[in-house]
Symmetry: C2
Subunit: 672 residues, 2 copies
DNA sequence: ACTATGTTTATAAACAGCGCA
DNA sequence: TCTGCGCTGTTTATAAACATA
């Protein structure tokens, strides 16, 4: 059982209803964004179904679309189409969709657009789906919910308004000073790490001494990042964007002393396992075959760097802006020197845990500019069915509104601050892709089938195609930070409280030849060992770590398995011989040089290895995990890279995580 | 640690050199195939580099290409091209590539062709890569190696010659009667299963009594199949090819009593995990969203059924031939009744463990018919770079020669007999895809980088593009079967030899409310539990179970991340805007109706849900695990379904598995 | 409040291949 | 030269933590 969860996880993933009525208790400090917060009845145009579209208060060319939960997809599409026509074809236009209910916090996602739009944004518009993350400090809810205060896109330095970036700093170490809400802090504090060699006893003892309320030993505490994230950090720290296994080991050890000092040797096995398991990690071999480099599949590369989540006390702002540049067209060349600087040192102190999932999504869609629903013909469909996995860890697929988006949102990389005290909550801004309104409609219908058993009431079939805005499935925000609650004290990796090495029959003893072997091996000798004492160590809880949002990745298998009209939840597109992924579109467009209006996808060879911004548009993602969403969604890439959200939330304390068992419906009565 | 390995695994995966010089000791009984065995200097045309192409002795329209290991890729391509021209465009032509060295055992893979060729094979040719599996009965080798005797494609009833199917029967239960070769049988025999509730103590006790040398209790013994395989068995047992989770549970419990009687409740968690993890399993929801059915991605569906690996004592032959039909064009309708019959009962006795990997591959390629290397233009490339994962579990990618093949080889589904005594060895015949010789060349070059550090010596770059025939990386056969050697005695799942329930703090005790919860949960109460006693149970060894060959699956992500000419081992195709997968071709062809010469891909909607034979051709696969092979290979589908090989080997005993530690080079000196 | 179903991450392991000592 | 061993890669199995209905 692996020491219970090494799994960084936690930071509850929740589905947020698209429309929040905003309990309104939100933290005051985080609201210093450019107005528009908590006030939906502001100006703007009104469209059928109560949909209102207004200019974003601060971002030029950006409109905020407030959608009542009673509005249906057609109304939304109609409003967007009308607005799109109004705006005309001059330049891209961005729409941020907000659920009608609560306060429209802020968007600040305009920065995402330039990146993915870069080079070819003309004629397209993007839509951001924004929901407010819920944050409750106490167990019983509706009050105490924290609201989103700021969205801070990673590439804000590009065109985003100067949002404060210092607010988002999170003390990774200082997280656990509030464990009052924890059900049983003592239990969780027990054996956390799974070191077996007893080598870290001394450390763990000392750590345990200062475990509760004290900032754990920063150097020996397990980082709140998953292996996948750390590998990305490592690889992206190199200009060349590739690393050998050994280099990855070393980088991680250098930046997270935990692995050098505390972790069992098996952590290297886990690194290798992650490299193999996730298709976002690709091994490339030199021509002579002597060296294997691990790279990140460009379409999936979010350009995550430790800089983005880890800040020095002294310079909270410098890092995030710096790394953002990495995702630019010519990222490697420019940022290389700076990155070097950062990666060299040992982690000073602060690390932002990545959140498992975001609550808002950027859903770039392509407006027709001519007619609202033109793409009925199966051929020549520009960006028809590109789909996006969007959703990260946890439940259903995140963004149901957009068809599979090949276009990865490297530009939208953001940091997500965990809902810990002194942390600001954040929202994820995931650019889905450019699709025509039609495509949005169609895919949305498919999305309906995504969450586990969600859309059962979606109506016969005609109504299904609606955007499903009011539906819970469609609008999961995922950011309800109530989860990992009570995590403070248990962080100390103190291994064996009492029986340090007594029964460590696991790794060290076995195969005594090399106890430090990174590949665990069974002790060949033991025959009648005691059954297996479950680790029981309640080591979790303390760290709200993240599960990076998975990138849409290139959609891959269209999954058009059979051409039966549609058996179950298959969307109309499923059976059409249309492009199911932007990738296909892009490919065919090139090969046939007649792909249609979507020639905007940058075939630019300029991007070498870094985060592919443009490429993401065209890259099909491999559906790995969740084909189940419906046939359209099957193209989800399993190892899609995660998105770092850099949205800030204010007023969140470490303690407010304790809301434990609050049901989602409690927080949002409208959900019922 | 999980009770050590529940993992069925084993049945060593080995790399077989493409060119075997044939130790020549092979079993006599298995050689009743149509000549051509062990004699390469037979007739046929001669091409440069010693390449010879001759008609297949029995299969019309099929040629055998004998390639000396000294031949390079260009020569092979040239010869194939010349031959292709000679054959002209009239009808498909199939080439079976054999390494020049050893005996050309037999091919018998013609049956694979009709299936994937079905409906639209005109104008295309296929190439089969065949290597001989090595089988050694004793630890020290060169002698005692068993040779392939028969290849029995699943759909042999279609056009394959009447190969015997009774030879491949394997006594799952009777496997462990020979444990003499095992290094330490006693150790391995220990706690195998990870049941925690102590509920199975009685059983385990009784089992342990008869554990060694005795056929374990067939009803409580863990089946030699992975969860993934069992799920496939279950789903494919239904006409509709879909099943709810509950039905899957029930099916497995009904057919493998182990899970009902012995396994811990966590096995259901594993089932769910596998369903989610592998993208071959797709969840489809009814329109009302009330019911979720799990289906198998048609492109990846090998139509594995328990019938294929499990035979009744009384009727060893009936089953395999029966299930083969399932993969036919109209499989569901036809076979449904028969399958019902089989699935109804409890497993009588015999189960064939599936082998981890196959040793021969069918590599369908498309011949130009006009010029040898025409596809220099990036546009209009018909079946350019489709690639195939081919290789299954274990080391490097299997087929390095063929580009990603979308076309899944449902037709090539075969049963693989494990190298146990009384078992016949088998070869896997995996149809890779249809590609032009050019494509073969290009992708092959990429293949070079596939195995871990293999092709280092492949020469600068021009020589690289060679087929790499003589290289070890390229020719892994995987069937060595020496591995799991010594597995007999430890099969008994006897759990806790001495401390039965004493310290079972794992599952049952924790969360006492529902000890049978399928999702393991940490005991929230334990704080300072003993570290964690490693299960230590040496439960493995006994079962040579299988790892089904993974289907090439539809290649998905072209992975053309950047357009840099080619940094490392990227093949030329990587950078071309060509279709990287047949799927894309197929899609584009339809949508644009101008995809080029490859319009042959069957868009046939006739296939409903069963194993998709035609569809496989066009389906892109998701690259999951082994992108590392090179950029071309990145499209490997991770959860590609496995291929069952039904090739029979004769003269193999259960005991011959004991060859334990024989190094591959020992068996095949030429490898060095 | 609990269960069933789904999704992810962490660990341990078993192996395969390769390269080096 | 042979060989064992360690490193690198690939897969499967389990346990868990969560999310959702
Ligand atoms: Mg990988
Ligand atoms: Mg799945």
């Amino acid at each position: 059982m692996r020491q219970s969860p090494r799994r960084p996880l936690i930071l509850r993933r929740r589905k947020l209803p698209f429309q929040l009525n905003e309990p309104a208790i939100d933290e005051p400090d985080g609201l210093r964004h450019k107005g528009a917060s908590t006030s939906k009845p502001s100006g703007g145009q009104c469209f059928p179904d109560g949909i209102r579209i207004m200019d974003h208060p601060t971002m030029p060319g950006t409109q905020v679309v407030v959608i009542p939960k009673t509005a249906d997809l057609q109304s939304v599409i109609g409003a967007l189409t009308a607005k799109g026509k109004e705006c005309g074809s001059q330049g891209p236009n961005k729409f941020i969709l907000l659920s009608g209910g609560g306060c429209i916090e802020d968007v600040a996602d305009s920065s995402c657009q330039p990146s993915y739009m870069s080079g070819r944004s003309s004629g397209r518009s993007s839509i951001a789906l924004v929901t407010q993350p819920e944050k409750a400090t106490t167990m019983d809810c509706l009050k105490d919910t924290k609201t989103l205060t700021t969205i801070k896109p990673l590439n804000r330095d590009l065109d985003c308004s100067p949002l404060d970036d210092s607010l988002t700093n999170i003390q990774w170490l200082g997280r656990m000073n509030t464990d009052g809400l924890e059900p049983d802090p003592a239990k969780k504090a027990a054996n956390k790490e799974n070191h077996d060699a007893c080598q870290q006893i001394l450390q763990s003892q000392s750590e345990r001494m200062e475990a509760h309320r004290v900032v754990k030993d920063p150097l020996t505490e397990r980082p709140p990042y998953s292996y996948m994230a750390m590998i990305q950090f490592a690889i992206n720290s190199k200009k060349s964007r590739r690393m050998t296994l050994k280099e990855i080991y070393t980088w991680i050890e250098d930046h997270f002393p935990y692995f050098r000092k505390v972790a069992k040797p098996g952590w290297k096995n886990s690194i290798r396992h992650n490299l193999s398991l996730h298709d976002m990690f690709i091994r490339e071999t030199t021509q002579d075959g002597k060296i294997s480099y691990w790279t990140i599949r460009p379409e999936a590369n979010r350009c995550l760097t430790l800089d983005q989540v880890y800040k020095t006390e002294s310079d909270p702002t410098s890092i995030s802006s710096r790394t953002m540049q990495v995702c630019d067209q010519h990222q490697q060349k420019r940022i290389a020197p700076e990155i070097k600087k950062t990666s060299a040192g040992v982690p000073e102190r602060k690390m932002k845990p990545l959140l498992p999932r975001a609550d808002s999504y950027l859903v770039p869609i392509q407006l027709p500019f001519t007619q609202s629903l033109f793409l009925s013909s199966s051929t020549r469909l520009p960006l028809s069915a590109p789909q996006q996995k969007s959703s990260s860890s946890g439940g259903g697929k995140r963004v149901r509104i957009a068809p599979k988006v090949t276009y990865s949102d490297a530009s939208t990389v953001m940091l997500y601050a965990p809902p810990i005290e002194e942390m600001k909550e954040e929202q994820v801004c995931v650019p889905l892709t450019s699709v025509t309104p039609r495509a949005v409609l169609t895919n949305t219908r498919k999305e309906v089938s995504s969450s586990r058993r969600k859309q059962r009431l979606v109506l016969p079939s005609n109504e299904e195609p609606v955007l499903l805005l009011p539906d819970s499935t469609f609008f999961d925000s995922g950011l309800a930070s109530d989860g990992s609650a009570l995590q403070d004290a248990e962080l100390d990796p103190r291994p064996e409280p009492d029986s340090p090495c007594r029964e460590f029959s696991f790794k060290t003893p076995i195969k005594s030849s090399h106890p430090a072997s990174s590949t665990p091996s069974k002790p060949p000798t033991v025959l009648l060992e005691p059954w297996r004492v479950t680790p029981l160590g309640k080591e979790r809880g303390g760290m709200l770590d993240f599960s990076p949002i998975r990138t849409p990745g290139p959609s891959f298998t269209p999954h058009r398995h059979d051409h039966t009209p549609f058996s179950f939840s298959s969307t109309p597109f499923k059976d059409l011989p249309l492009f199911n992924s932007p990738r296909e579109l892009l490919t065919s467009a090139r090969s046939t040089s007649a792909a249609g209006p979507t020639g905007t996808c940058s075939p630019g060879p300029e991007r070498l290895q870094g985060c592919s911004r443009e490429l993401q548009i065209g890259g099909p993602s491999t559906a790995n995990r969740s084909h189940t969403e419906g046939l359209v969604l099957d193209t989800m890439n399993d190892s899609l890279s995660k998105i770092l959200v850099d949205i800030s939330f204010s007023g969140l304390e470490d303690d407010d995580l304790g809301m434990g068992n609050i049901s989602w419906s409690q927080l949002i009565p409208e959900l019922k």
